[in-house]
């Protein structure tokens, strides 16, 4: 039985080795080092403090951070770690101090967050809009309707499949308020919850021939792989406002403040945000509006 034991031991050794190798590649334990203020290894990162930005999946999925974060990191000595969650979870991370700065789009929940004293400063950053997307066949006949709530009511009447994120995201919060405006309680086999991010929900709606409410940015960035079409847009009730909030319990408050002031500055507003997406989609994905009060 000796060889059996040694083979077993060999397996464990191999497994341990694989785990270690995986850590090396993925960077396990990086966070603790960064939290302590410096990193034991890696020259480029050694002078950088971590800044945790909690934001929404829709912002992440749009690809904005791939432009925004490198630009910020080039200007400031922070390494930004983006946590993309629903607005609800992002705010919760702000409550617990697990995030330093938030970029979210759930105005009602944000105001509660500020009233409860979890945030320090809140500034409008940009807006885009929500769009009601669905299959080209449009079984509920909502194409080009001007009133988003009325369109949802039509979908409910037709009992056409509708996919809801049901995940405490800003998008879901908006969907709920539209149902409320429509005076419809969405219920039945046609109304399904994915509990997932915007990108996944669009894929599911697309594959199942259903409708969903999406932010325009995520829809446009995924459009190439979808056969869904924008059916309803332009309603005021579909406007999607983003705010940046510095967290009171932030571990890196200095970095959070720097990020807030940076993202509302004219050069970022006009130079980064206003131009993002133009090259790829022929139209900007976000409209900067830090100048106006949010």
């Amino acid at each position: 039985m000796g060889w059996r034991m040694s083979r077993l031991f060999g397996c464990f050794a191999l497994a341990a080795l694989l785990v270690l190798a995986g850590c090396g590649l993925a960077g396990c334990g990086r966070e603790s080092g960064a939290r302590a203020g410096s990193l034991p290894a890696g020259k480029a990162a050694s002078s950088r403090t971590e800044l945790v930005l909690a934001s929404t999946t829709s912002t992440q999925d749009s690809g904005l951070f791939e432009v925004l974060i490198p630009a910020f990191e080039a200007a400031y000595p922070y390494r930004v770690k983006v946590i993309a969650a629903g607005s609800g979870e992002a705010l919760k991370l702000g409550e617990t101090g697990d995030a330093d700065v938030l970029l979210v789009h759930s105005p009602a929940a944000e105001e509660v967050f500020m009233q409860q004293g979890f945030g320090l400063e809140r500034r409008a950053v940009m807006h885009n809009d929500f769009v009601l997307v669905g299959p080209i066949s449009d079984p509920a006949g909502v194409k080009d309707m001007k009133d988003a709530a009325a369109a949802l009511a039509a979908i409910a009447r037709a009992e056409a499949p509708f996919f809801s994120r049901a995940d405490q995201s800003g998008t879901y919060a908006r969907e709920l308020s539209l149902w409320e405006t429509a005076g419809v309680v969405p219920q039945g086999d046609w109304y399904k919850s994915t509990g997932q991010g915007m990108g996944e929900t669009l894929t599911i709606a697309d594959q199942s021939g259903g409708y969903t409410l999406s932010d325009r940015a995520t829809y446009l960035s995924k459009k190439a792989s979808l056969s869904l079409e924008v059916l309803v847009q332009g309603d005021k009730a579909l406007l999607n406002q983003y705010h940046v909030i510095t967290v009171k319990k932030a571990r890196n408050l200095e970095g959070a403040r720097a990020f807030l002031n940076w993202i509302v500055s004219p050069q970022v507003q006009n130079g980064v945000i206003a131009t993002f997406g133009v090259e790829k989609f022929g139209e900007p994905l976000f409209v900067p509006n830090a100048g106006q009060s949010g």
Binding site: K92, Y191, T194, Q196, S208
Partner: protein
């Protein structure tokens, strides 16, 4: 730490109360993983046994493939199944995407190689003489095969248990092809793993904890079963 204990308490209460969504999800997980394991046995055991008993030209390649299959990245499996079942895919017309059937296929593809590979090594380590002796005593080819499988039964059971473990703990593939859908508070295609991910994302730690507890309990049962099986063998060896 308070968050942890609150979630734990609430989780136990959800399980005791018999929250219908929680139970639907548990049942879905067990059902999909169970069916996937049965299918995995039907395919994995014959293939594994064949490779364990026969050496032929290209055997090394086949055995390597089986062993690689054991380590198939679930996310890759999920992507393949997704693309095959998607509307643009080869099997798109079957409308199987986002159904328990699609999830079963994905979990089957993950469980079957595990079952096959373990069966292969189990059958391969049964001394040749066992089969020869059976044949010498007048057993038919199928009867002698049965004798070998019986001899390797502990490894075979371990294979089944390991296959089930791989299937029920799978997240990525099931999320991709199942979609974790629910409707009106009733579960459609959520499993304990995908629902846990979703619930954590929503900050609903209590429900997430309930599923984590059940998964831990299943892992515990599996480990217990494996340990028991292995110790059983050792005892028999000591006696003989």
């Amino acid at each position: 730490m308070a968050v942890f204990w609150d979630a734990l308490k609430e989780a136990v209460s959800l399980l005791v109360r018999g929250d219908h969504y929680v139970y639907e999800v548990i049942w879905m997980s067990l059902r999909v993983a169970g069916v996937a394991t049965v299918l995995g046995v039907l395919v994995g055991v014959p293939v594994g046994a064949w490779l364990g008993l026969r050496k032929f030209r290209g055997w090394g390649v086949a055995a390597t493939f089986l062993n690689v299959g054991m380590m198939l990245p679930p996310v890759a499996v999920g992507l393949f199944v997704f693309l095959l079942l998607s509307r643009q895919g080869v099997f798109g017309s079957l409308n199987l995407l986002y159904t328990p059937a699609a999830m079963t296929v994905a979990e089957f593809l993950i469980a079957a190689p595990v079952i096959g590979a373990i069966t292969m090594s189990g059958v391969g380590s049964v001394p040749k003489e066992v089969r020869l002796q059976a044949l010498g005593l007048g057993a038919s080819r199928w009867q002698s095969l049965w004798v070998v499988l019986r001899e390797a039964r502990v490894t075979l059971l371990s294979a089944v248990v390991a296959g089930f473990g791989a299937a029920i703990s799978e997240v990525g593939a099931v999320m991709m092809v199942g979609g974790n859908l629910s409707s009106g508070g009733h579960n459609l295609t959520g499993t304990m793993t995908t629902a846990t991910m979703m619930l954590v994302r929503q900050g609903k730690y209590a429900e997430a904890m309930a599923f984590a507890l059940i998964l831990l309990f299943i892992a515990f049962l599996i480990t217990l079963a494996l340990t028991y099986l292995q110790r059983g063998v050792r005892r028999r060896w000591l006696q003989s």
